[in-house]
Symmetry: C2
Subunit: 101 residues, 2 copies
Amino acid sequence: MAVNNPISGLNKIFDNRIRLGVMSILTVNEEVSFNDLKQMLEVTDGNLATHLQTLEESKLIKVHKGFIGRKTNTTYAITKTGSKSFNEHIEALEKMIKGFK
Amino acid sequence: MAVNNPISGLNKIFDNRIRLGVMSILTVNEEVSFNDLKQMLEVTDGNLATHLQTLEESKLIKVHKGFIGRKTNTTYAITKTGSKSFNEHIEALEKMIKGFK
DNA sequence: ACTACAACTTTGAATTACAAAGTGCTTTTT
DNA sequence: AAAAAGCACTTTGTAATTCAAAGTTGTAGT
């Protein structure tokens, strides 16, 4: 591995802007509903659902299917692994940015 | 546009890690040869060439075909537009990051 | 009963990314 | 001088990714 490679620490799963957005939202907010994510990120529900699935399969986020009264309410939260992976990615980004600041 | 959308300021051209890497390298180093970029980023030459072409077509970088003695030497540099676009992207990223710091 | 919303899954198409091989020119090696 | 190798590509083909649209199931409201 080249020593100077500025992108070697980046996590491929976060190359996608929607997945990046989800992670950044879930880092600030403990639990966020599907619908809120959809509105914040301005994506179609199908598109969002597949990205959430990808993140869940990689154990970066977890799903909680709950209720508000009798109505189903699905919320998403970041996992420990997710926090760790995302922080590493951000650190790699910051390192890259600092390289030229 | 949603007010809270953390990814709306990101530039799609920089979603790709190789193009991101090129820009970050060219922000620190005024002129970098094709071969140096290739080694730093650890990519195949064909792959690098297409990404450089994309960046050039968008006027984010410029190519200089020169010589070292009699040997051809191609170098790449960032353009004014490129600097501006890249800085905006980085600022959007930082804003996103600061959102949860 | 009908409409609407929520949270999906499935399908299909378009775009993107990438490796591998080929090209033309030059330089170095034998 | 011939062969091998390097540089900076281009072309080709495939694999992966991304995304919108439509379909699905279940609940809620009117």
